[in-house]
């Protein structure tokens, strides 16, 4: 399955600059409101998207984001897929550890974003790139 095939009315954005990270936040905010996520869940999802979009830019050398509504029959939610063709993540466990960073940040982006969403899947291959898919479900 290509990442994001199950997303209804999906929107795609390129992530190539700081400004694009802001655009990703705006897109995700609009989507989160449209499926009526609670205010706290909207905030969590937009924050997670901001962290992951920045990772795509800083570590992946830029990439794309695909986002939209998903339904599992019982609930609806928002799925966001970040992909880049960057260097990939050699040690995933380490990268998901709080405080670990190779980029001079706080090392909370990946591990923190995972805590803020309901589903978090990561697919990475050294030299080929990284794809991260997250879902936040309505309660």
């Amino acid at each position: 399955m290509t990442a994001g095939d199950d997303i209804a009315a999906k929107e795609t954005l390129a992530i190539r600059s700081d400004q694009d990270v802001v655009r990703v936040r705006q897109l995700v905010r609009t989507l989160a409101v449209s499926v009526k996520l609670s205010l706290v869940d909207q905030t969590k999802l937009v924050t997670a998207a901001s962290e992951l979009a920045r990772n795509t830019l800083v570590y992946g050398g830029g990439g794309t984001v695909v986002a939209g509504r998903v339904d599992n029959g019982r609930r609806s939610g928002i799925r966001i897929v970040f992909s880049d063709n960057g260097p990939g993540i050699p040690d995933l466990d380490l990268a998901l550890t709080d405080g670990y960073t190779t980029g001079g940040g706080l090392g909370l982006g990946l591990s923190g974003a995972r805590r803020l969403v309901d589903e978090f899947d990561i697919d990475t291959a050294v030299g080929q790139g990284t794809t991260i898919s997250v879902i936040k479900w309505c309660r």
Binding site: V22, L39, V46, T47, S111, A113, R115
Partner: protein
């Protein structure tokens, strides 16, 4: 790139972030504030984030850095107006903003700075008294 204005009110620099900041804008604010603290000699900085609907790790780190830079330049920073959902998200993200003073709104932030400044003056006065006492005793 947009820029966040820094206002001087008495002995305080007031920053109200009203836009969804690009990372570069946040870094620019950090520099602008350091320059303004030195140029004005202000002893307090209030950063109002009540208009921000998210604070991610980058903005959180920038706020912490601003607080550290201000302290080195003899100014205290108070972050005010954080929304409840932002506070919940920040803590879950793993960012508890150690070293940052917070207050619920601008007014309370100003009170906090005034109190601290007063306490500092009192300490200085006590030290002066102690020095005089030593001089008198010798």
């Amino acid at each position: 790139m947009e820029r966040v204005p820094v206002l001087k009110i008495g002995d305080i620099l007031l920053v109200s972030i009203q836009i969804d900041m690009e990372d570069q804008t946040a870094l620019q604010l950090q520099e602008d504030l350091a320059d303004r603290i030195v140029a004005t000699g202000c002893h307090g900085v209030i950063i109002d984030i009540s208009a921000l609907d998210i604070v991610d790790s980058f903005v959180g780190r920038t706020l912490a850095t601003i607080a550290s830079i201000s302290r080195v330049l003899d100014a205290e920073t108070v972050v005010v107006g954080m929304r409840p959902a932002v506070a919940i998200t920040l803590v879950e993200l793993g960012l508890s903003l150690p070293g940052i003073r917070t207050a619920l709104n601008v007014e309370r932030g100003m009170e906090l700075l005034a109190r601290e400044r007063e306490a500092e003056f009192d300490d200085d006065a006590d030290e002066d008294d102690a020095d005089e006492a030593v001089v008198a005793a010798s």
